[in-house]
């Protein structure tokens, strides 16, 4: 019990004294996971919408694959991204293993199926007649897609939250591809694992609290946007 209280005290101490190292780790977590979320949104919304609105042979299989991908284990992603990024691996020439860029890449791979899956479901959930109506009113195909995405924006914000929440809290891939290098590729989750290993439980608890606060504030902002226009 003492340990938890000490951890909470330490967390507030580290936050309010603006501890440079902890601040750096927190900002890096935010940057890395934020960038990865944006990449996954770009890919996920495009692919999700395309699959939702088209019919082609093997579509069932594609949808199953996307849905399976939503539960892609981060360590598996970490392992494969590591193997690809090795100096002597297929993408070794990029020289990005053990950099924040590598973490962004791995996290984007984890988040993209989540965003794709939720986009797919929310676009498909729109009434079929809506699509026909939009087309009947003389909209072009591009205009129709745009209107549908707009109409599904509330569930799409859920996709943002699910994607971001999934990767900001992820540790397996980040430690494998980022290497947990001090002042460079150390993010909140990997630092927590390391401090636990070092027996610095108060610091580990402090980092966990910062992580949860960060996740809370980002989601609170997104929820604010999502719920703003609900009561009509």
């Amino acid at each position: 019990m003492n340990l938890i209280i000490e951890g909470i005290q330490k967390a507030f101490f580290l936050i309010f004294t603006l501890d440079a190292e902890v601040l750096g780790i927190t900002l890096l977590s935010l940057q890395v996971s934020g960038t990865a979320t944006l990449i996954s949104l770009f890919i996920g919304i495009s692919v999700g919408t395309a699959v939702a609105l088209s019919r082609f042979p093997g579509r069932q299989l594609v949808v199953s694959l996307i849905n399976t991908g939503m539960g892609l284990p981060p360590v598996v992603v970490g392992l494969f991204v590591t193997i690809f990024l090795w100096r002597n691996g297929p993408l070794g020439f990029l020289e990005i293993l053990y950099t924040p860029t590598a973490i962004i890449l791995a996290q984007a791979v984890i988040a993209t199926p989540i965003v794709t899956g939720i986009t797919l479901a929310s676009i498909q959930n729109l009434p079929v007649n809506l699509r026909l109506q939009i087309l009947a009113l003389g909209a072009t195909r591009v205009q129709m897609v745009w209107l549908l995405v707009k109409e599904a924006r509330l569930p799409l914000l859920a996709a943002v939250m699910a994607g971001f929440g999934g990767i900001i809290s992820e540790v397996g891939a980040s430690i494998m591809v980022g290497g947990n290098i001090r002042g460079y590729s150390r993010v909140l989750t990997t630092a927590t694992v390391m401090e636990t290993g070092r027996g610095n439980f108060d610091v580990a608890i402090a980092l966990s609290i910062i992580l949860m606060l960060l996740a809370f504030f980002v989601n609170a902002i997104l929820t604010q946007i999502q719920q703003r226009e609900r009561p009509r």
Partner: protein, 288 residues
């Protein structure tokens, strides 16, 4: 509603530019040839030694060190694949094999400390009175007391397996023998929680001691010597290896200044040195 959406999109765009703009300089830090990948054991990181040494090295040489703290076994596997430039490891038998297979340029002794047998103060297998470490391990097996093994091919794990072999016991699959597959720090925590015995390096134990409630039950036996070597990976096998950086790092580790830092590291905080500098000595002369 349209305005609302534009606002959201606008905010997202600003956020995107901001995030990518901030992430880029971070990933561009240090041109590629100045990067140096150091694969090492968890004990050098968990004890905090590298947090002291690496900044000194970086300041002095301008290299950017990427420290990857894994077990000695994995560190050497990375070296074998050319995925690390220099190794700081403590698994002598595996290191010798690594050298004879031509993966390393040379192998310089850096420092030593010792392994210790740790356990709950109650000492259910009564190993405190054992004449030797091998004897102590026999007692643990005979009593069927819980023993936590690293189980991760680390230097500590290799040493532990060596002691079991010397005791003529195969602990694998025994009920009282559990493998954590974790680093030294975490394995010590597991041992503390389960009140089991384990083999640890003194550095990590001293750094974690305050929260553990475990005691040193066996120490000072020559078999428990723990020697760390630095090995630059052979660029002849893997041309992409940063050979200059690796040599600079291994020179740094055995330099008089670094050896001095190692000697005093932890004295203030833990009341005793965690590592003993050994540059220039012969491995066989240690512990005599």
């Amino acid at each position: 509603m349209k305005r609302e959406l534009k606002k959201v999109l606008g905010a997202a765009l600003v956020a995107a530019v901001f995030l990518i703009g901030m992430a880029l300089p971070a990933s561009a830090a240090g041109p590629a040839q100045k990067n140096l990948i150091l694969a090492t054991t968890t004990s050098t990181q968990d004890s905090g030694l590298l947090d002291v040494l690496i900044p000194v090295f970086e300041k002095k040489t301008g290299y950017f060190v990427k420290t990857i703290a894994v077990g000695s076994g994995q560190a050497m596997a990375m070296g074998q694949k050319g995925e690390a430039d220099v190794l700081l490891v403590h698994s002598p038998d595996a290191e010798k094999k690594f050298m004879t297979e031509g993966y390393g340029v040379n192998r310089l002794i850096v420092m030593h400390n010792d392994f210790i047998v740790i356990g709950a103060p109650a000492d259910p297998a009564a190993i405190k009175g054992a004449k030797s470490t091998v004897e102590a391990f026999k007692k643990i097996a005979a009593a069927g007391s819980l023993f936590l093994s690293r189980g991760d091919n680390s230097g500590t794990h290799a040493k532990e397996k060596g002691i079991w072999k010397a005791a003529g016991i195969n602990p694998e699959r025994q009920k009282w023998y559990q493998q954590t597959g974790l680093g030294m720090g975490q394995t010590l925590n597991v041992a503390a929680e389960k009140k089991g015995y384990t083999l640890a390096d003194r550095g990590t134990y001293l750094a974690l001691k305050k929260n553990l409630g475990l005691e040193i039950l066996k120490q000072g036996d020559p078999i428990l010597l723990n020697v760390y070597h630095v090995i630059p990976v052979n660029p002849a096998k893997w041309p992409k290896v940063n050979a200059d950086g690796a040599k600079t790092f291994s020179d740094f580790m055995v330099s008089a200044e670094t050896q001095g830092i190692i000697k005093t590291f932890g004295v203030e905080k833990y009341g005793g040195a965690l590592f003993f500098p050994d540059a220039g000595k012969k491995e066989d002369d240690l512990g005599k």
